[in-house]
Amino acid sequence: MSQSATLQRVQAVDFYGRLEEEVRGHRNGTALLFLYCAGDPSGTDAELTEVQSFVDQLSGVNSEVLRDVSTGVLALTLPGYTLDAAHYQALLLKQHLQGRLEQSDPRITLAALTETPSTQTMKQMAEAARLSTSSDIHIFTQEEADRDQSRILIVDQDATVREFLQIRLAMQGYETLEAVDGLEALDLIPKWEPDLVLTELNLHGIDGLPFIHHIQQLKVKEPPKIVVLTEKRVEQTISQCFQNGVDDYVTKPFSPVELDARIRRCLH
């Protein structure tokens, strides 16, 4: 028992590292499948054993089902399978799970690989499985992997502004999240690791400049870019913001087209 516990911890540490290794091991292509069971109160242990038992009965497959402990996403490789064969197996797996575990509602993302994908792509696949709203098997394509999935955190106390920005940026293909004030944003940034923070300076709880300073002090791998979108048009404030390392400064009322262009320039 203690052994398997250690094993799991190691797995958790580098879930993606091991997955990458496994994919790399299969020279002639493999199918990669991510599975996430929504609404299963019995926990993921039962799922793990069920999925493993399903994999074990497949001929020619002796891979191990991996689990990301932090999110509960399961991953398995099906070496040598083409996309349609893997899709068929995924359907069987779904049926198997639904038969065995009554309340499980599996969400599956599937891709056939010819080369080793980047960690980023695998993360995207895992996320897609986790956040999927339909029980259909999601086939993850190259296009999807290439799509600009920059994350933008919108910080503004005005709900109308947040909604407008959220809709507009989502239409541009960005992933967005909203925060009402600076403290909430400071809480979200390390968890969600956005690529860009779009913020107002008039915030509750913490003022704009100290807020920006705090973002830069946060221990994240890549500090997010900061674009200020604010009512404040005082020159002194603008220059102070740039001195503090803000990437761009847009004043309200703003032109949405201009804002798009500035955000795009900051991200690329």
Partner: protein, 462 residues
């Protein structure tokens, strides 16, 4: 009989003032709701303001208050906290919270005389915050020290136990910008924060105080500010801008010599001095009241502290009246000399004596059987009803324009306490004022203590 006439005169005057308040409330409501404060709060054209925050032994609340003041919606302003030789850790709390360091050679612009300044603390990361450390010299002295350091043309005095709403300052500035030539001072609306939920230096959930003393004061403040000051400002006869939150033209404050130290009531004193200066120099001016700029303050919640505060007010009021007695009934001072000052002397300062003599006379009449009890009852009822009507009037104003208290139960509670106020609380008010006057005669000049509660403890207690 004098007493009856007196009561009638007071009531009549109050009603006239209340009527003026009602006349103005529609404008106030509309400008509070349709002005674009958001846009204004980013404009370069809004005059910059120095906020002066005198702090004496405020270690419990100061951090929260400064945090609140640092996040106001306002284009350019600075916050100057003046530590008035506190004996507790007020200064240390601020230094730690904001990582302040001593400025090597600070530049002082003003030269009003104050007690010795020990140093000025600053952190370039928070460019709008300055903390002055000085030797103890009282509230007025602290404000003067703040004026000496301030860079901007407007100053605003804020008590360290008060929290401003985010828009409060910009609302005031808007009023100032309507008439920047003539406006010399603007007062804000002070409300009682006891009972409200406070989070991150911000009033989150408004409700009435749970305890009795703050509850009475809530009603009293509502009546004084909405029922009284809106009307007085219409006549340009405001005699006081609350020390808790007011905005002033710095040049005129310096012209009248800054705040007067050594005696309570410095907030009333500065306004009287401004009136006097402007009238004597025949400059057109206005002292305004801005009811939509709201400041939440901690009210004393025990008998002792409250009575001390009221005695101090009584003392300060009397001192101001005696000092400025030459303005009384002097046509040179217009509304101020002919209406406001007489009103304050007769109906505020001397109020207790009229009441007491009136009561004694009534008792005497009854004893001597010169009158019958029906008259007494009628008199009492009229007195009560007129007073109650005034409170209800203020409540109606509140409901018409502001609606800060949203719960129905709060409204019922306010109506109930407006009535209860006449049994006991009013009489105590009279007593405290007399005691204040006695203190004045005895030359007892202490400020009295005000113990603070941390805003956080308050949340838990409430």
């Amino acid at each position: 009989m004098v007493a009856i006439y007196y009561v009638m005169a007071v009531s009549a005057l109050y009603f006239v003032i209340l009527l003026f308040s009602f006349r103005n409330i529609r404008d106030i409501f509309r400008r509070a709701n349709y002005s674009k404060y958001n846009t204004l709060s980013g404009s370069e054209l809004v005059p910059s303001v120095s906020l002066l925050v005198p702090a004496y032994n405020e270690e419990l609340t100061i951090a929260e208050n400064v945090r609140c003041l640092m996040t106001l919606n306002y284009p350019t302003y600075e916050v100057i906290v003046i530590n008035d030789g506190s004996s507790d850790d007020t200064l240390q709390v601020l230094i730690e919270e904001y990582g302040l360091t001593l400025l090597p050679n600070p530049e002082l612009r003003g030269n009003i005389h104050t007690h010795k300044m020990r140093g000025i603390y600053y952190n370039p990361q928070y460019p709008q915050l300055y903390v002055i450390d000085k030797e103890n010299g009282g509230k007025a002295d602290s404000l003067n020290a703040g004026i000496n350091l301030s860079r901007y043309p407007l100053i605003s005095s804020i008590d360290a136990d008060s929290l401003l709403e985010k828009d409060a300052l910009i609302r005031m500035a808007r009023m100032y910008m309507e008439n920047p030539e003539e406006t010399v001072a603007i007062g804000g609306d002070v409300r009682i924060a006891n009972g409200c939920v406070i989070e991150n230096g911000e009033v989150k959930d408004v409700s009435l105080p749970r305890r009795m003393w703050p509850m009475f004061q809530s009603i009293e403040y509502l009546k004084a500010f909405l029922g009284g000051r809106i009307g007085w400002s219409h006549l340009n006869g405001l005699i006081i801008v609350s020390g808790a939150f007011g905005m002033f033209r710095k040049d005129y404050v310096i012209a009248v010599g800054g705040y007067r130290g050594g005696y309570p009531g410095e907030d009333m004193n500065i306004i009287i001095k401004l009136h006097r200066y402007m009238l004597e120099n025949k400059i057109k001016y206005r002292v305004s009241f801005c009811p939509e700029a709201v400041c939440w303050t901690q009210a004393p919640d025990s008998y002792n502290i409250l009575s001390n505060q009221r005695k101090r007010w009584g003392r300060g009021n009397l001192k101001n009246m005696i000092e400025n007695r030459n303005m009384l009934f002097n046509p040179k001072y217009k509304v101020m000399g002919l209406l406001t000052m007489p009103y304050n002397v007769i109906f505020e300062a001397l109020n207790p004596y009229f009441r007491i003599t009136g009561l004694l006379a009534l008792l005497g009449y009854v004893m001597l059987d010169m009158t019958n009890w029906q008259v007494l009852v009628v008199f009492g009822l009229v007195n009560f009803l007129s007073g109650y009507l005034l409170s209800v009037g203020a409540l109606i104003l509140e409901e018409m324009a502001f609606r800060r208290y949203t719960k129905l139960s709060d409204l019922v509670k306010m109506l109930l306490f407006s009535a209860l106020k006449f049994v006991g609380y009013h009489q105590l008010g009279v007593l405290w004022r007399v005691q204040g006057h006695i203190q004045y005669m005895q030359n007892n000049n202490s400020w009295g203590t005000m113990t603070r509660q941390s805003w956080k403890d308050k949340n838990e207690a409430a």
